[in-house]
């Protein structure tokens, strides 16, 4: 319905404006993609299983056409019209037509930039207020895997750490000659849940940031996000969760070095009123961060150290909602064990499944799987953590070598279910070496490696000893002009015991489930890529993924997949 209205408005604008304004500009861009996969699952778990599907051929063709209407600087509008045709249907049968995006944007009085419709939120805000946290350490994964991930990210409108929601946003910047240099204001309001007009209220999220650049040395900011219900006559629950933080940044930038001190302080306030019985659950908690960063410019090296304390009940849904939903059934070979058991999510699903991404903000923390990230599963804003992060790496201006190493050491602030607190340690890093640039042969040639190891320990009455290691290796070699050979592997090993938290509707811990795992996972991928331009290409890859829970044949399988992808972006 919302898109029908949007479409009517858009067509109206298009027809009126194109006849009224001689200077109206109109252009198109878009993306066409055809994907074909051939899939096979096997292994101990599937032995003798005649009920679970073990082979499949699937895919789709999509064509996203984005007409852009630019009336002037004050009004611009665009939609993305999607045509999607599943693989194997002929003469256009089962083709789905939909509107994928609707946006109106522009400027009001040359001062305020506005956006209405499907908008990205979080630009300029902090990782405790509005932020989509990364799900694993895949910054250094191979080209063949990052390109595969980009398909799922495109389908889910993933853009870095920004959230994509529907609403309105305004931005403005004011320059000053005295006192301060610049004042920036960014405000937004979006709806995350629709009312049924009776008992379920609309849930909206509103907030923004005020940033002041006092001088080249000092910048301060104020961030605010409130997720709340707009009460209706017969609502069952009235929920609100506000987060307010202030941040300060002190910078000393000289020819040879840069030193930056930064800090952030804030609090969250959760309130849930159960209207029918007049009960209210309310709590407040705090977050503190202080850090230092130094860059030695001649060597293109940076160092950083950060102290972080996130309260046990710090609640910031727009910064704590996970990127992936581990409870979403997998698209590929959904069930195993006689077609009766949902197959658990593995790293190949996390890399490729378009359905496993969260698309909205959740008031309650999502479940997570410790083997894929146990220390900060909800990003920097993960509650109940105190500790430091230290690291070093190449500056962003380094082109030939990108390298980073980082250590995180955290403790729980309050024990969960026991007085003893978990202790966390993580070591991660990686390297990308562009030897094509080094040899100046104007060819895309690179190798990469990534590493992440996490340990979780706890003593006392309910001891924990859990360890996971993730390794990425890969290479890209342009053997002929714009024709690449791609290889990549991901190796994951996780073992030990943990206790998974169960949370109630008030986001409070209500139970714990023992979790024992001895797991080895592996993806090996090999492929060819023909590049037509930076964003247009044809790839053919073969991927073999193995999931093996030692001592359990229930979850011991492998998935082999041929994957062909023709993408044309314009």
């Amino acid at each position: 319905m919302k898109y029908k209205v949007g479409y009517i408005v858009f067509v109206f604008l298009l027809s009126v404006c194109s006849t009224s304004y001689a200077q109206v500009k109109f252009n198109f861009n878009g993306l066409g993609r055809a994907i074909v996969t051939s899939n096979k699952i096997g292994g101990e778990t599937l032995k003798g299983d005649t009920l679970s599907p073990s082979k499949g051929l699937s895919g789709y063709t999509v064509f996203d056409l984005q007409p852009n209407l630019i009336i002037n600087n004050n009004i611009k509008a665009n939609v993305i019209l999607r045509m999607r045709n599943p693989f194997g249907s002929f003469y256009g049968a089962n083709t789905l037509f939909s509107f994928r995006q609707f946006q109106i944007m522009g400027k009001i009085g040359k001062v305020v930039e506005y956006e209405i419709g499907d908008i990205y939120l979080g630009g300029g805000m902090t990782s405790y207020t509005m932020y989509k946290p990364f799900e694993m350490n895949h910054e250094f994964e191979s080209d063949i895997h990052s390109q595969r991930r980009s398909v799922a990210e495109y389908e889910n409108f993933v853009s870095g750490n920004l959230w994509r929601l529907q609403g309105v946003q305004g931005r403005s910047n004011f320059g000053f000659n005295k006192g301060i240099k610049n004042l920036g204001i960014n405000i937004f309001a979006v709806r995350t849940n629709a009312s049924n007009e009776k008992s379920i209220p609309d849930r909206i999220m509103a907030g923004g940031r005020i940033g002041i650049v006092q001088s080249e040395y000092l910048a301060v900011g104020l961030n605010y996000v409130n997720l709340l219900d707009v009460t209706v006559n017969q609502d069952e629950v009235e929920y609100s969760n506000s987060v307010l933080t202030g941040d300060v940044k002190l910078t000393l930038n000289r020819d040879k070095f840069l030193v930056q001190l930064n800090g952030e302080l804030g609090s969250s306030n959760f309130k849930n009123v159960q209207v029918y019985n007049d009960s209210t659950v309310q709590y407040t908690d705090y977050v503190t961060e202080a850090g230092i960063k130094g860059v030695y410019k001649p060597a293109k090296v940076k160092l950083f150290a950060t102290y972080r304390s996130v309260g046990a009940q710090f609640s910031s849904p727009s910064a704590q909602t996970t990127r992936m939903n581990v409870d979403q059934p997998n698209s590929l070979f959904t069930r195993i064990s006689g077609n009766a058991v949902f197959r658990n999510q593995n790293i190949y699903d996390r890399l490729t499944d378009e359905q496993s991404y969260n698309r909205s903000i959740s008031a309650v923390l999502y479940n997570f799987l410790p083997q894929y990230g146990n220390i900060t599963p909800y990003g920097d804003a993960t509650p109940n953590r105190v500790g430091i992060s230290v690291g070093l790496g190449s500056d962003t201006s380094a082109k030939i070598i990108k390298v980073e190493a980082r250590a995180d050491m955290f403790n729980e602030i309050i024990g969960e279910g026991v007085a003893d607190k978990r202790k966390y340690a993580a070591y991660r890093g990686g390297l990308v070496f562009n030897f094509g640039d080094l040899l100046k042969i104007n060819r895309k040639m690179s190798v990469n490696t990534g590493f992440r190891q996490e340990t979780t320990t706890r003593g006392g009455n309910a001891p924990i000893d859990f360890k996971s290691t993730l390794i990425d290796l890969g290479a890209t070699v342009e053997v002929f002009k714009q024709f690449d050979v791609l290889v990549g592997t991901k190796l994951l090993a996780a073992s030990g015991n943990e206790y998974l938290s169960v949370r109630d509707q008030f986001n409070l811990l209500s139970d714990f489930t023992a979790y024992n795992l001895d797991l080895k996972e592996q993806i090996i991928s090999l492929g060819l890529r023909l590049r037509f331009s930076e964003r247009s290409y044809l790839t053919g890859t073969y991927n073999t993924s193995t999931y093996k829970e030692i001592q359990s044949n229930n979850y011991n399988y492998n998935i082999n997949q041929w994957f062909f992808n023709y993408t044309l972006a314009f």
Binding site: E197, Y217, L218, V248, L509
Partner: protein
């Protein structure tokens, strides 16, 4: 320039001072306390004995027959562990999907930490078909695959009518088993202009139920697009005797009912309350023109069973046919109830809902 640096530093340091002055929590444990069973953990003498406590007298006895009357008795298990441990006692009905879970952190289980009154932890009730239910009792321990189990036979269902649980008084209007003191809801009066749309109501529907053997089924298509599909009511609308309810504050009385949603859009169940403002005698059909009629609409936008509770104060006069009583909410005068199936807010839809256990409570919501 130096003054700017000094100013900036002073702002930064002030911020750090504020950081350090933040209030910290004093809690020592988050969530329910637990502890893992060590390798040498054991249940002392492997004893896991069941006991009954008669609700009225408090008399305690063992249950060698493993037959439990949850209408008249509380039930508990008694056992001792070699170590203090996190435990979970789960009672699962074999027939009704009902489940009751007790959990704790201790080196024993007895009536102080796991006394069962026959209620459940989920949306189903024990005692399917009154005397034909059995339950598995399973005791598990945190961090251990060791468990103890037992089986008991349930010879009754927990009674809620005119009972007080946790200070909340319960009045069972109808559980659709056909044995209620207040009389049962009538058969479904179908909107005659909707006939042909597969419309039906069934007050003894036994395929979907959360308690006992039956629920009340309402289903149909709103062919004439007037939102109304049909309704049912307690026999005379004056079926609850005067002085049954003591509560005069409409914010302290609640209507509770279990509703099963099937996901059909625009399904709305309207609960209609009748007040005996004219003080008719018991059994005299309520004259709707001289008494207040009140309505509350529930949008059934979920699938499966859900306990829905709302305050009496949420009732409103309907747009028409509200009756000419005293025009006030008088919970103590509640004399009868009706239920209506609507296609609302959009008319014309195929809608469906099942209702079970309609209970009016005072001083709180329904206590499972």
């Amino acid at each position: 320039m130096n003054s700017k640096i000094i100013f900036s530093l002073s702002i930064f340091l002030s911020s750090l001072i504020i950081f350090s002055g933040c209030k910290k929590k004093n809690e020592t444990i988050l969530g329910p306390e637990y502890g893992a069973a060590p390798a040498d953990f054991s249940v002392v003498n492997n004893k896991f004995d069941a006991y009954n406590i008669v609700k009225t007298s408090g008399f305690t006895s063992g249950i060698p027959t493993k037959a439990v009357n949850i209408q008249t008795n509380h039930q508990y298990y008694k056992t001792t562990f070699s170590h203090k441990v996190g435990w979970k006692l789960t009672i699962s009905s074999w027939k009704s999907n009902a489940k009751k879970v007790f959990s704790g952190y201790s080196d024993f289980i007895d009536e102080t930490n796991a006394k069962w009154d026959g209620g459940s932890s989920n949306d189903y009730f024990f005692g399917y078909n009154t005397t034909n239910d059995s339950a598995e009792v399973k005791l598990t321990f945190t961090g251990s695959s060791f468990y103890i189990r037992d089986t008991i036979k349930l010879t009754s269902m927990k009674n809620y009518h005119m009972e007080i649980f946790n200070g909340v008084s319960h009045y069972l209007v109808d559980d659709f088993e056909g044995t209620n003191p207040a009389g049962t809801f009538s058969s479904f009066y179908i909107d005659q202009q909707d006939i042909g749309g597969g419309n039906e109501g069934n007050n003894a529907y036994n395929l979907v139920k959360c308690q006992g053997n039956f629920s009340y089924k309402m289903r149909g298509i709103d062919i004439n697009n007037n939102t109304y599909l049909g309704s049912c009511n307690t026999p005379t609308l004056n079926d609850i005797p005067a002085n049954t309810f003591k509560e005069t504050d409409p914010n302290k009385m609640f209507v509770n009912l279990y509703i099963f949603g099937t996901g059909r859009p625009n399904t709305t169940v309207s609960v209609i309350a009748y007040e005996n403002d004219a003080e008719h005698g018991v059994g005299v059909s309520l004259n709707q023109t001289i008494n207040d009629k009140l309505i509350y609409q529930i949008a059934v936008d979920w699938t499966g069973w859900k306990l829905y509770s709302f305050k009496y104060s949420a009732f409103r006069k309907p747009n028409s046919g509200g009756g000419l009583g005293n025009n006030r909410l008088n919970p103590e005068r509640l004399s009868g109830l009706a239920m209506e199936l609507d296609s609302y807010s959009a008319p014309g839809f195929d809608v469906e809902a099942y209702v079970d256990m309609v209970v009016v409570t005072e001083n709180g919501t329904f206590q499972k």
